[in-house]
Each structure stands twice: as C-alpha cells, then as structure tokens.
Amino acid sequence: MGPLVPDLIGNELNFIVALVVGIFFGAILEQAGFSTTKKLVGLFYGYDFTVLRVFFTAGVVAMIGVIALVHFGLLDINLVYINPTFLWSAIIGGLIMGLGFVIGGFCPGTSVCAAAIGKIDAMIFVAGSFIGVLIFAEGYPLFEGLYKAENWGFVRIFDTLGMSESVFAFLLTAVALFAFWAVSIIENKVNGVEIKPVRLTPYYIGLAAVGFVIAFSAFFLPERKDVIMQNVDDKEFVQSYNLKVMTIDEFAYRLIDSDKKLQVIDFRPEKEYEKLRLPKSSSLTVDNLFEKEPNKILSLRHKINVVVAEDEMTERKIAVIANELGYENVMILKGGLKEFKAQILEFGKNDQAASGLNDDTIRFRTKANKIIPELIAANKDKGTVKKESKRVIGGC
C-alpha cells in the first residue's frame, strides 16, 4: 500500500526519487512550452491557453488517479500530504503570486525550467524569487499573524463544499472539458484564426475512454473496504472460514513464558484496553486494518499474532478481515477474552469452572491466575503502545 516512503523506499533513496521525478517534471514542462514566457502569459491575454490545458489536464488526471488508488485500497490517503488551509494567507499569497506572474512572466517551476535552457530573463526571475523569500524571512514577525490566521487544517475541498468526493471530481472534470472548448474559441477570436475547437482524434478518444473506465469502475465497483465489511456480516461465511485458534491455556502459557514471538492485537474499545492491557499487546481498531500502519505489526512472518476481543465471534470477524486483506498470519483466542478472564484471571473464584478439568490444567491455571495479573499490572503504566504514522511533510 502506498505511499512507499518511508517503508519500502528509505529516506535516502527518496532523494534519488526526487531527482528522477524532477528530471521528468522539467522535461515535461519544457516540452509543453513552459520554458518561454510568451506561452505562459498568453494565458492572461487570450492568445495562448497552453498553460490552462496542461495544468487542468494534469490536475484532473492526478485527481482521478488518487481517487482510484484510494478506492481500491492501494493508497492510504491519511499518510499523503494534503496542503493545509490557511484562508487569508492562501488568498493574499495567491494574489501576490498572480501579480508576480503577469509582471515577471514566470512562476518558480517554469522559471527554473526556462533558465536551464538559457533564458536570461528566467535566470533573473529566479534571482528575484530568492529576494522575495529573503524579504519574507526577514519580515516574518510582521507577516506571521497573517501567515497563521484562519487555520482550517488539512481540509479537502469536497468537505468544505459539503459534497461527496466523486461528485466534486465529476464537476471539476466537466468544468475542465468545458474550459478546453471555451478557450479554443477565445484563442481563435484573439488570434483571428479558425481552428475547430473540438477535434476528436483517436488519441483524445482513447484518453477520454481510459478516464471513463476508471470513473465508472470506481462508481460501480464498491470500495474494497465495503465489500469485505459486507462479507463479514454474513455469519455463516465467518463461521466456515478456516482460522487458526489458540486455546486460552496456550495463550496464558505464552504470556507467562514472555514468548518473544507473541504479539497480542487487542481490538476492544480503547477504554476497555486501558483497563486491562495484556503484555505484548497493542490496541488497534477495525478501521486501522485498512490503513497502512498495521502492516508493520501484521506482516512480520516469524511472529504469532493473536487477535483479541471480548467474544470469539468478534475475533473471528476481525481475523477474517485481516485474512482478506492479506494478513494471513493471525490467530484468534478461543472463547475470546471473556473466556480467558473467567478461566484464568478469575480461576478458582467459582468452583464450576474447575469441574471436569484434569489436575495438570488446574495446577497450571492456578499458577497462571497468580502470575498473569502481575504481568498485566506491570504493563499498565508503560504508556500507549499504539504508534501513529505521521503524514508526510510536503509542500513548498
């Protein structure tokens, strides 16, 4: 599951990725004609809308791609950098940039690109941008109030507008297509030429078809999470699922033995977990399973992962979800924690529990009944074991 940094690709290798990404970025911008200021400012005087076409196409492609990757469970959006929203600095900063754009004729990315192929004005623009940053840095105490005002956090546009993500994506795509058509007409008027605004070449149709297939598949194929969650609602399906089961005695033995292989994954609500925290346990929620974080715990091959919940049926459901997600290395605790509490933690409190057991089991449980509460008590003030993955820090 993406993003691949920092687990699959280390932070050092990430710099090489940055270099390669940059090479493609520079080459695409240059090939598109962003290395000449005449093409860039054409956008604002109506004679060349290349910037709008490239920019909107790229934005729509990336947007649809991100939605599709998230939809099919290939990307954890919670780890992706979402530019934070600070309302006033976004508006005022943007307006200043717009002014800089019409006066200077470049933006930072395109100026670097143009400077690389020898445009002297672009080199001067780059030098100017250093001065701009320096002014901001030196005057920072003056601007800090504005810079940090109206912090909305990492909000996303469809939430701000109160619509669903797919509706927004559809609207944006429609606006983009309309804009492509409209700007071609404007271009014709300004340049005094007649070029048909819509040219349906096989390539365009091909591209549009790919977009449609992705959009439709996302619309009709339910999200992976929904499918799995629906399946586990089916009791028979869950019951018939072949799961490895650990008896409470073995579980107790491994706890006492402080078995290094054992990992307890506790799915009870956090409050319950705070009250009774088993040794070697971490607390997760079902939602966590669909995120990237449990990867680290559940995909270690030599470990024994025991899913723990109050009753066995809940454990089964969770273990099925884990299996469906590809984490096959999970076991469940027989009878759930309920059974474990009754037979081990409270062993001996009622005599019925002991009836029908052989002497060895009784002896073991009596011993476990003493030791395990001590282990639990020792584990209590260890602080939270749960690790939260951090969002990638990005942006300019």
């Binding site: 710099f15 970025f25 604002f44 976004a90």
Partner: protein
Amino acid sequence: MEAKKYMNPYYAGFFLGLLLLATIYITGRGLGASGAVKSATVAAVETVAPSHAENQKFYKEYLNEHAGSPLKNWLVFEVIGVVIGAFLSGLISHRLTFKMEYGPHSTSRIRIVTALIGGALFGFGAQLGRGCTSGAALSGMGVLSTGGIITMFAIFGGAYAFAYFFRKLWI
C-alpha cells in the same frame, strides 16, 4: 537546426498528471518548486550570517521543522532534477540558446527589472501562500486540498485581474 514544435498540451498534461500521481503514490507528497528556493535561502543565510539565522524567528522555525542541512531537502533534489530534465529536453528539441524574451513594446532593460520584481513577488507570495503554482495549486488540486485550490484561484484570478495594467509589457 530549427527548434522542434512543442508537445500537444493535452498529452503534456496527461504525462504531468501521471507524474504527479506516481510521485504521490511513491513519496506521499506532490511536486514543488518554491520550497527549494526557500531551502537555498535559509542555507545561504545560515552560512553568511549564522548568528542572524539563530535569532530570527523564520529561520529558527525552519531549522526546527527540518533536521539536518537545509539543502538536504526533497525539493532541492527535485529542482536539480528539473534543471537537468529541462536542459536535456531543450537539447533534444534544439532550444538551447541564451536569450531574453519580452513583448514588442518592451525593452530588455524593462524586462530585467520586471523579471526581478516579478520573481521577488512570486517568491514572497509563495512563502505566504505555502507553495507556488506547482506545490500549492497543482499538487493541491491532485489531492483536492481546499487551501491548494483556493491558492490556485487566487494566483490565476489575481493574474487576470492585474493583466490589463501590464499589457504593455507583453503585447
């Protein structure tokens, strides 16, 4: 040799979109440009006036947030890549020439001044707006960030609003 024609804008956009998507999938972050200028500025100030960098709040906050040398930064590497990529592209398409471009009613002297002022405004605005056309507008649109999209509208809206007053520079 004559310079080759530019790429069809929709194809270029499509490839750029795929690149942005791949970048998000691999690294969890989008593209950028102005951040590299910021890193370089911080590095320069740190080298030239270390005590100044220690006392000014902006540099302090930056150095707190970014461990290690300011130049050991994702965007710095990316922008080095942009220089290489653009150069290679210019080489292949025969567009490598030292020249300056400006409108028919402008002069090279005016162009030097406007490029410098425009760059300074953009550099300043990108700091205030937390990213430029690449980092805030394009990448923000890819992940549907509210702030990124507002910045995008502000940049292009602002440029249109001011375009009339600076038309003599370009047309």
